[in-house]
Amino acid sequence: MGGFPILSVMLLVPLVAAIACLFAEAKGARIIALGATLINLALGILLWAQYDIGGAQWQFIERAALFAGFNYALGIDGIALLLIVLSVFLMPICILASWESITKRVGEYMAAFLIMELLMIGVFTAQDIYLFYIFFEAGLIPMYLIIGIWGGTNRIYASYKFFLYTLLGSVLMLIAMMWMVNQAGTTDIPTLMNYDFAPEAQTWLWLAFFASFAVKMPMWPVHTWLPDAHVQAPTAGSVILAGVLLKMGGYGFIRFSLPMFPEASAQFAWLVYILSMAAVVITSLIALVQNDMKKLIAYSSVAHMAIVTVGLFSFNVQGLEGSMIVMLSHGLVSAALFLCVGVIYDRLHTREIDRYGGLSINMPKYAVLFLLFTMASIGLPGTSGFVGELLSLIGIYEVSSLVAFVCTIGIILGAGYMLYLYRRVAFGVQKNADAAAMKDINLREWLMLGPIAAAVLWMGVYPESFLAPMRGDISALDARLARATPEGDAKLVVGTPRTQAANEMPHVGGTHKEEAAGGAH
């Protein structure tokens, strides 16, 4: 780690580039933004390479007492590391996605995106609870501007909804944070993670944090801002929204709600289960009847995030690891799906599914990539979606068979709406002449979708690369949660191995029982 403050540099690069973008011409701003995000990607890879798996829980720690009441304290564990890598991986892709489609006020647009990157990395690295809050909340401003200035027709309504919904959720969390700091006497997140608050207080604190994270996540029924925001945001905005911003809710649960309030988490697990089950089924059904591609994918995001929440609140290692992988996988896959929508939207300027059809004939390369991401979203083995969903569902199955059953239904429904979408867009006859005349994807689009496809397959085939950095942190969290873990209904026990071969035929009369027992090879 040395003395090189890599995390601060990762925050500084986008900041400097953002200021430069504000004063640059359109062309210059694009290049500055791409350069800055690529530098950050390189730094992110360096971070991953330097991260000492199995070493100290918190690494790359930086600390400075700059402000009254809180510190400038940064540091990451394995969980934060992966989310940071996800963010820096998606950012250059977002810039590429807006390369041609954004033509007005390019400098400001790029600046807003770079500030977003700064804030996202800040959220995942902050080790001071107030610093976390500042980064967490500040993300509202650039996102508000991105939706409001460069969004679609109904953008104003969507931007207000996004802003006010998330703000209301967060301010209550701020009061809870103040109470906690007052009680524990520290703003240091690692210390607070091991501080035992009184169980009665935990109830209220948990609810305040829940108000914020549930909106960010988003959980049913406070998810309604998401489809509006997604549909109205430009493609890159949707990518960042789905890819990284939604992860802040999950990150919040895993960093705050679970370790800081284990008892309250167990107490409210039923609430999370009910909301998640409702989300999985209801939003999947809603997704089935959508005519707007982006809206469909937005609803599918809500369903996937519900799998994340049940996994998190299963209080065991499988569930926690599974939800982390679902978050990473969803970050890649939904980002890729929004990009796929963006690719054809740029050509035809409509998101209506019926306006397309038979794209596999004139856009075969596009159809292959789109199919890959569709399958990954469904959770086909070999893709990242499978690993995460399987682990999450195993985790929740240990706690409640019913929840696992309902969530699995959601996955079947997921296959339904995704395949239905794919059939309507890519297969069938080319009923619209303009859609049939569209060109296949170009080099820029390859550069956007190719790396994501590779990452999706990597995570699906060899998830160990992603599980290894966070293994220690997940088991630490599991140990912290052990005292509050709810008793599951599965009651799994290791059975005694049966003595005879499974295909042994019972003999008539049963006289050879002992002989048969001894004869099991």
Partner: protein, 487 residues
């Protein structure tokens, strides 16, 4: 006490008064042509008074403050910090004023004169430790304000604002005086130091009425709900630089005065006044936020915004602790910067003939015509809404932190939830400037004095402002401790 020391401790006020009298003479003989000279003189006088105040703050000999004129007036860190804010706000307002009046050639030397006398009155208000000093200071500053509100004689709205302000202000003064007489009657003294022990234990009905009437009178001065009705009309009608002044300096003075009287004189009756303050705080937050939503005039909207902000400041007072008083001062300081910034930005909106633009429709798409101006105003608005990383968040943060530390979690939760309502209309301005199609009304040029003031406030409001948290917090803590030390 030695007379010389008394004069020395009241130095800033005496200095300002003398300069004020000199300006009067210059104005009498020099006529309108001397307006510029008088403005420069007034600004230098305020700078000089600030320097004296800073001397009181940093000079170790005055660390504990001191009483002047037999306990009528007290110089301490609390008064000094408040005065510094008042003087700085007054300087900011004077700098941006002359350009505003260029158009109608109505700028007169009386304007800086009135500001100076108003500053003297406000200095007395925040340092008063006797009901009589308080009243004299209050009236001196109010009378100057009434005239300032109606300064454009050719404008009906300005005259109406002045008259409204005067009638309602006189009514409030009456209520305040009535409350003071009751307090005097039941405690036997007008001095805070004597009232405090007299109001120990159970409070009689008469004395309670006294407390309530005093607080009602003060609530009028700080424009807290339910005594806020005059604010939108006066803010809209008064010339914009005067509105800038009203929204900043007198507000600081009135709030600091309220803090001193509640925490010192009525310090033993915290439960009696706290309910009033809590009600006023929450009502101000909600009414200020809801009232602003339907406004189409920016100045009216900012008037409601100031009502809304007063609510947050009062939450710090309601905590009734050192941390609460300190938080209140921090909020006030940030609020002054944000208010001056927003009003200066409004001042800078001119059409091509140089006339002022005030309606929301006219600033549509401002971000394309005047990107820097729009950026600054957007930062002010989001900061007023308390969105991090802008500095306005810090003000809300310390205030609510003080409330939580004082075990008023419910108050804090309700207050902060209500702040989301306020966020709506601040966002609306950002939306109009950034999302809407340009109206191309605001095209006029601006001079450097406006830009300078706007730049200074914008830097304070930007995330760079957080670097101020340590010195600002230390100063406010010292001031708040001084307030409690006097007891």
């Amino acid at each position: 006490m030695d007379y010389g020391i008394s004069l020395y401790l009241t130095g800033p006020e005496i200095f300002l008064s003398v300069i004020g009298l000199i300006i009067t003479l210059i104005a009498a003989w020099g006529g309108d042509k001397s307006a510029r000279l008088c403005t420069i003189l007034a600004v230098s006088a305020l700078v000089g008074a600030s320097a004296m105040t800073v001397n009181f703050l940093v000079n170790p000999a005055f660390e504990l403050g001191g009483d002047a004129f037999g306990g009528l007036y007290r110089m301490d860190a609390f008064g000094s910090v408040s005065k510094l804010l008042i003087y700085l706000a007054a300087i900011g307002c004077l700098i941006v004023t002359p350009r505003f009046f260029d158009q109608g050639k109505e700028y007169k030397p009386e304007y800086p004169l009135l500001i100076v006398f108003s500053a003297v009155g406000m200095g007395l208000m925040v340092s008063a430790t006797d009901l009589m000093t308080l009243y004299i200071g209050l009236e001196l500053s109010s009378l100057s304000s009434y005239v300032l509100a109606s300064f454009i004689r050719s404008d009906d709205r300005s005259a109406e604002a002045g008259l409204k302000y005067f009638v309602l202000g006189a009514l409030a003064s009456g209520i305040l005086l009535y409350g003071m007489s009751l307090v005097y009657g039941f405690s036997g003294s007008t001095s805070y130091l004597a009232i405090r022990p007299a109001f120990e234990g159970a409070l009689g009905t008469g004395a309670l009425f006294g407390v309530i009437f005093v607080l009602a009178g003060l609530a009028f001065k700080i424009a807290a709900v339910p005594f806020h009705m005059w604010t939108p009309d006066v803010y809209e009608g008064a010339p914009t630089p005067v509105t800038t002044f009203f929204a900043t300096a007198p507000k600081v003075a009135a709030i600091a005065m309220t803090a001193r009287i509640t925490l010192d004189a009525f310090g033993n009756q915290a439960d009696a006044w706290r309910q009033i303050i809590i009600f006023a705080a929450l009502a101000s937050i909600v009414v200020g936020a809801l009232g602003a939503i339907g406004q189409t005039n920016i100045k009216r909207l900012l008037a409601y915004s100031s009502i809304n902000n007063v609510g947050f400041i009062l939450i710090g007072l309601a905590a009734g602790t050192v941390a609460g008083a300190s938080a209140m001062l921090v909020y006030l300081a940030i609020y002054v910067a944000m208010s001056i910034g927003s009003f200066v930005a409004v001042l800078m909106m001119r059409d091509k003939d140089g006339n002022q633009v005030e309606t929301m429709a006219d600033i549509a798409g401002l971000s394309r015509a005047k990107p820097m101006l729009a950026l600054c105003l957007a930062a002010m608005m989001l900061s007023l809404a308390g969105i991090p990383p802008l500095f306005g968040f810090w003000g809300k943060f310390v205030v609510f932190q003080a409330a939580v530390e004082a075990d008023m979690v419910v108050l804090a939760a309700i207050g902060i939830a209500a702040s989301v309502i306020g966020a709506f209309y601040y966002l609306k301005i950002v939306k109009i400037m950034y999302f809407d199609e340009p109206a191309d009304v605001v095209t006029g040029e601006n001079d450097t004095s406006h830009w300078a003031v706007l730049a200074v406030t914008a830097i304070i409001v930007s995330p760079l402002g957080y670097l101020l948290t340590i010195p600002l917090g230390a100063l406010a803590d010292r001031a708040a401790e001084a307030l409690f030390f006097a007891v």
